[in-house]
């Protein structure tokens, strides 16, 4: 029971973090894709393997701006209310890096889960997808 309370409390904590993490621009907008910002991920997928129900797991992605203009993250779109996020910065100077943290709550989850979080940026490609997978039992 205490464990469940802790998980729920942690979930709300991260929900608050997510709510406080608003990109400057509106969620969906016309983005200037003429910039020379470019994005490089250290990985685009995290597999948590077998994890228990009612727990919180975290995936960390490092992104680097390999272009010559400031990289802007204009929106982050998890596909599930069970996923909250934290981004260390939304504007990343050339050659600088930032962290994207995705927190996945397995409350009421069961079996194979595949979750996709979309990053919207000002690069020419504009959209990127980060995938988290796990088997919840």
């Amino acid at each position: 029971m205490k464990f469940l309370v802790l998980v729920v409390a942690t979930f709300f904590l991260f929900s608050c973090v997510q709510n406080s993490q608003k990109p400057e621009a509106d969620a969906i907008q016309n983005i200037n894709t003429q910039s020379n910002a470019e994005i490089q991920f250290d990985k685009e997928k995290v597999d948590f393997g077998i994890i228990p129900q009612d727990t919180l797991v975290t995936a960390l992605y490092q992104i680097k701006n390999t272009g010559s203009d400031t990289l802007k993250i204009t929106d982050i779109q998890p596909d599930c209310s069970c996923t909250s996020f934290y981004v260390s910065k939304f504007k990343i100077a050339p050659n600088d890096t930032a962290l994207v943290q995705l927190n996945i709550n397995t409350f009421h989850k069961h079996g194979n889960i595949e979750q996709y979080t979309v990053l919207v940026t000002n690069t020419k490609k504009k959209f990127y997808s980060l995938k988290n997978t796990a088997i919840v039992n």
């Binding site: 969906i28 996709y116 979309v118």
Partner: protein, 381 residues
């Protein structure tokens, strides 16, 4: 009674009754006309790989005018490919411009008979594009609510549209000016974990493509489901509609296919169970466990997964999974009620359509290899 009051009472009564749906299926009239005239037992399955695109790797294949389209549900692009998999053009994409889609996730999509496209987001938000992929209309689905949730808790009413939602993972079909889709009630007081559900629930809704108004909810389950509660775990309808408004309807856990007219009179039934299907279904009485039980049962047991009717060829395709331990899924082909083929297809096979006498599958996505593959096979005469 004053005239104004009289009119109000009359108007309220009309509204109350017009909100209710009485169009239910009568399965007692159905005559079974099943026959087997097997013409072939296997097909040579080939595959094509789509050109590389910037994609979320979440999406599905649709066919229009002999072209393949991959709808990327998350990035909201509609990528057009030639039938050999080479990219032609990418349309739409997330955004608020007139050629863009202001959603973060597309949950339902259909091409429209006039060449346009229909998209639905996660909140019953609908968007209509014309054939030039310009957004020309948007609205929300209007379920015509007339009661509070609490009122329905006390007295659930299966004839009210507001009791229902779309069956996620089901297929929506544009038909004339309407969109037709399967529905399910997930209401706490009325849902498929209850033994009374199959007797009274409606299974389809028709929505106006002009404004999202739910015009009607209709149809019902065969009596079979009321007597076999465990089968309701796969009680969702799969269906297609022909030009004469006849529905071809099957259910995940029912081996029969029903032909039903637009007044929901069941004209006939036909069909055979798929090969090697495990059918030891187990439903749950706990609504909170329904989804997890469904996924568990999907691994263990077989069920019918899709139904497509091609009127110009008079061919009806019904796919099925077989259950645990089986290396393949199955695909049945019927012509004039007769089963003419029951073949093995790759697991997870769904049908996206036919181009030049070749059947094309859904998207088989391998993100680790960054590939999107489509299976296809030639129809023999």
């Amino acid at each position: 009674m004053k005239p104004v009051v009289k009119f109000s009472v009359l108007a309220a009564s009309i509204c109350f009754y017009s909100c209710k749906s009485e169009k239910k299926s009568d399965y007692s009239t159905a005559k079974n006309k099943s026959e087997k005239l097997i013409k072939f037992n296997d097909v040579a399955i080939d595959s094509i790989q789509l050109d590389s695109i910037n994609t979320s790797y979440v999406g599905e294949i649709y066919i229009k005018d002999n072209s393949l389209y991959f709808l990327d549900s998350r990035f909201c692009f509609l990528h057009e490919f030639q039938k050999d998999g080479s990219i032609v053009h990418s349309y739409i994409g997330q955004g608020s411009g007139k050629n863009e889609l202001p959603v973060k996730n597309v949950t339902f999509f259909s091409f429209l008979p006039n060449g346009g496209s229909f998209f639905m987001g996660t909140g019953y938000d609908c968007y209509i594009f014309n054939e030039k992929f310009e957004r020309i209309n948007d609205y929300a689905v209007n379920w015509r609510p007339t009661h509070t949730y609490e009122e329905l808790l006390d007295k659930p009413d299966p004839s009210l549209p507001e009791m229902y939602s779309l069956v996620y993972g089901g297929k929506v079909r544009a038909h004339g000016d309407d969109l037709i889709f399967p529905i399910v009630s997930q209401h706490q007081a009325y849902n498929p974990t209850m033994k009374t559900y199959a007797a009274e629930a409606r299974i389809f809704a028709s929505m106006s493509l002009k404004n999202g108004y739910i015009k009607d909810i209709y149809g019902g389950f065969p009596p079979f489901f009321s007597k076999n509660f465990d089968f309701m775990v796969f009680g969702f309808p799969i269906f297609d509609i022909d030009q004469k408004n006849n529905y071809k309807v099957s259910f995940g856990a029912d081996s029969l296919i029903y032909e039903i007219d637009d007044n929901m009179n069941v004209k006939k039934s036909f069909g055979f169970q798929g090969r090697n299907m495990k059918t030891e279904f187990k439903n749950t009485s706990d609504m909170e466990l329904f989804n997890s039980n469904y996924h568990e049962q999907s691994k263990l047991n077989g069920h019918y997964t899709f139904l497509e009717f091609f009127e110009n060829k008079d061919l009806l395709f019904r796919g099925y999974s077989k259950g645990i331990g089986e290396a393949s899924d199955g695909l049945q082909i019927y012509k004039d009620n007769a089963l003419i083929a029951d073949i093995d297809v790759p697991r997870g096979f769904r049908m996206s359509g036919i181009i030049d006498n070749e059947v094309y599958s859904n998207a088989f996505i391998d993100q680790s290899k960054n590939t999107i593959k489509i299976y296809k096979f030639k129809l023999t005469n």
